[in-house]
């Protein structure tokens, strides 16, 4: 009795997007099936992992997360270099938290200067992530786009509130935009339509569907991503056929359970392994839901996910 596998017929394909420039540039996307369903489609381009670098010294990281970077946390360029040289990072994500007007409120000039240093320190593709304040991000990302013209940085979050300004500089200075919407398939589609109308080429758009941590809203993100993929692949929803980015490291490591010490949470086992597994499990679920780029923190969690990717995509 031989089983005939009931296959889904996919009519759509995810667009291929080039990240960065030069020798180390990467391409993501290109899927023609649900994630890792290789028995009925293709996923010839691997999902990629960007390692986080912060523009100011982290203050509330648990020892598990801090330890691998303890010697470089006050120097973003050295930090990025360590990620690439020591941990083999294939991409970097520079998180510009210090630009937040409700926090340190550093200026666009300062942010651009830090970015410049990081861009010069490493040759892998770089994501620049703002502070999620639409107005400030406009100012900061515009300055960075200009200063790093032609580098094809991935810049975001680009939202409904600032897509015109950031979209325009991305076109002008040749960068890729990360179109960010809060866990809603219609809003995601709408923003991609607007970016298209503005003239941002299809090869320069990534979707940020918004990410929550395991145990803190992940289930909603998971389902929205599944629906986005479904619409893109089986309903030919052309404006959703873009790769997805998930900025998950910071979501996981801010949760209570990723931070608690052994004394604070004796039942939760080893604090390092726990944090690593919470990050890796979050990443694993996001990959299953359709993530193409993961922004992650802990080298061990990244190692585990790379291992899983190799297994899942083995020939």
């Amino acid at each position: 009795m031989a089983l005939e596998i009931p296959k889904v017929s996919y009519s759509g394909k995810i667009k291929e997007i080039v990240l960065g420039k030069g020798d180390k540039a990467l391409t993501v996307g290109g899927e023609t099936s649900y994630p890792f369903y290789l028995f009925e489609g293709q996923m010839s381009l691997k999902p990629r992992i960007a390692m986080e670098v912060y523009d100011s010294t982290p203050e509330d990281w648990p020892p598990a997360a801090l330890e691998p970077f303890a010697d470089v946390v006050s120097d973003p360029a050295a930090w990025a270099k360590k990620c690439v040289d020591t941990y083999g990072a294939e991409m970097i994500a520079l998180q510009l938290v210090s630009t937040d007007p409700n926090g340190e409120n550093r200026s666009a000039e300062e942010a651009a200067a830090v970015t410049k240093k990081v861009v010069e320190a490493v040759d892998v593709p770089i994501i620049i992530w703002g502070c999620n304040n639409a107005e400030k991000d406009t100012e900061v990302l515009r300055k960075i786009a200009e200063d790093c013209a032609g580098r094809n940085l991935m810049i975001g979050p680009v939202t409904e509130a600032n897509y015109k300004q950031i979209g325009a500089v991305a076109i002008g200075y040749e960068h890729t935009v990360i179109a960010s919407t809060p866990i809603d398939i219609n809003l995601a589609k709408q923003l991609n339509i607007l970016l298209g109308n503005l003239g941002v080429p299809d090869g320069r758009i990534l979707i940020d569907p918004t990410t929550g941590s395991l145990g803190y809203g992940l289930e909603y993100c998971y389902s929205v991503m599944e629906r986005i993929r479904m619409a893109a692949l089986t309903q030919e929803d052309e404006r959703l056929q873009f790769p997805m980015v998930c900025n998950l490291g910071k979501e996981v490591w801010k949760t209570k359970e990723a931070k608690q010490s052994r004394e604070e949470a004796p039942k939760l086992g080893d604090p390092v392994k726990r944090g690593v597994l919470m990050e890796a499990a979050t990443a694993q679920l996001l990959l299953l839901a359709g993530a193409d780029i993961l922004i992650m923190r802990h080298p061990e969690a990244i190692g585990l996910i790379k291992d899983m990717l190799n297994d899942l995509l083995a020939a």
Partner: protein, 449 residues
């Protein structure tokens, strides 16, 4: 295959006698097809027809239970491929492996750890529920003694693992009343294991290498009259494990392949020696349809993420869990105790109230109805706006229960404090920390003066 109303109608007596409580056979058939009536209501259908309709209307993935009482583990009954379509029914059973070749002291230590692995979250108790007992020695007496020792010590869903029917038979004598899962019938032992399972009325797992072999075995067992089966396809790698789970679920749901219409059992530890990676494979299997996941080591750091994973994947995607809008008293608050306000999303409520409790500072917690949305989501959706928050603070009666007029709002909503002060002119609005984890420290230095 589910029958349509018309197909069922064709099998009914067509006398329209009305005894089923519906005026006509056709109307009754329509109700049956949509699950609003049960076939027993019609006294006139023949046994043959009943069997045919029963089989046709059976859920595509057999629901079954392993174990009894409090710790019974329900599996199967799933009806969709994607959780946004409908809530996934039964979260996978997480099982810890123990073997009759392990030292007693190791077994005892693992068991006492296992008992400790219980976590409260959103008002639920999360814990691994199953033990997989392995008869690795191959010795019937030794295995039976081991099983007895374990089941005497702990109440859990039991999986008995042995390829030898005679070893299985002895172990079943010890614990058949606990309705263990018998693992497993193979191509060679299908008949003997099938007979055992029938005799003790316990569910039986089928182990085959690959789906074709699995189907051949289940087919045989179905022919013997067995119903409660569980499938193990013995994938050789992670990629194949994912494929098998998807193909089994899809074949059962879409093509109604009855030989695959059963919950599955999986062994991530067979695919890696690395315990961390084993946990990740388990997390993949939770999302992708596994019925039981047997793991080789259970510690807080790997079980907790897996339980969260399972909770996330199996919560109802349509309805957020919410708690009642009201004033909650934590630790016997008095007239000079702090007042905090937050949303009625269960997760938010339980996190915040948990932190307030652990601070040991008695406090009043005002929970405003935000239709089950978290703080920031509610704020963005206009369900936690200054005017409605103010209205709730006024009408909830808290002002009569305290002397002071200080209200702590979530740190993430710092931006609304000005507006809220305008709406509540008698009150002083205090911006609390962003993360609830910082509440204990905050509350300890809080003072009404």
């Amino acid at each position: 295959m589910a029958l349509s109303g018309i197909e069922i109608f064709k099998k009914l007596p067509k006398t329209n006698c009305g005894e089923c409580g519906v005026p006509t056979c056709l109307a009754f058939a329509m109700k049956l097809a949509t699950g609003q009536a049960e076939l027993v209501a019609c006294p006139y259908v023949s046994d043959d027809v009943r069997a045919a309709i029963d089989e046709a209307s059976a859920p595509p993935i057999r629901p079954l239970t392993i174990g009894t009482g409090d710790r019974a583990v329900k599996l199967g009954g799933e009806t969709v491929m994607f959780r946004h379509e409908k809530r996934f029914e039964n979260p996978p059973g997480l099982a810890l492996v123990l073997s009759d070749t392990m030292d007693d002291s190791v077994v005892n230590e693992k068991l006492s750890k296992f008992k400790d692995l219980e976590f409260e979250r959103v008002g639920l108790i999360l814990r691994p529920q199953m033990l997989a007992l392995k008869g690795e020695s191959g010795d019937a007496g030794k295995f039976a003694a081991f099983v007895k020792r374990v089941v005497d010590q702990i109440d859990a869903g039991i999986i008995l693992m042995s390829d030898k029917p005679e070893v299985m038979a002895e172990a079943l004598k010890i614990c058949k009343d606990k309705k263990p899962l018998i693992y497993a019938a193979t191509r060679d032992t299908a008949e003997a294991m099938g007979n055992l399972a029938k005799e003790v009325a316990c569910p039986l797992a089928v182990k085959g290498s690959g789906l074709d072999e699995v189907m051949a075995i289940t087919d045989k067992l179905l022919g013997m009259g067995l119903k409660d089966l569980v499938i193990d396809s013995q994938p050789v790698n992670v990629k194949k494990a994912l494929e098998d789970q998807v193909v089994i679920r899809r074949s059962a749901l879409v093509k109604k392949v009855k030989q695959l219409g059963f919950p599955t059992i999986t062994f991530p530890g067979q695919l890696t020696d690395n315990k961390m990676k084993e946990t990740l494979i388990a997390s993949l299997l939770i999302a992708k349809y596994a019925g039981i996941i047997v793991i080789s080591e259970m510690e807080g750091h790997n079980v907790f993420p897996l339980l969260l994973d399972s909770l996330n994947i199996y919560t109802d995607p349509q309805r957020p869990m919410a708690v009642e809008e009201k004033v909650y008293e934590i630790g016997g608050p008095r007239e000079d105790s702090p007042i905090l306000i937050t949303s009625n999303f269960s997760l938010t409520y339980f996190i915040v109230s948990g932190e307030v409790e652990s601070s040991r500072v008695p406090a009043w917690l005002l929970i405003k109805d935000t239709e089950g949305l978290s703080v920031l989501t509610a704020w963005a959706a206009g369900k936690f706006a200054a005017d409605t928050v103010a209205m709730f603070v006024k009408k909830c009666g808290i002002a009569d229960r305290v002397k002071h007029r200080k209200l702590v709002i979530p740190g993430y909503l710092a931006g609304m404090s000005g507006e809220l002060e305008e709406e509540l002119p008698d009150w002083q609005i205090l911006v609390g920390p962003r993360e609830a984890a910082h509440l204990p420290a905050y509350l300890k230095q809080w003072s009404a003066a």
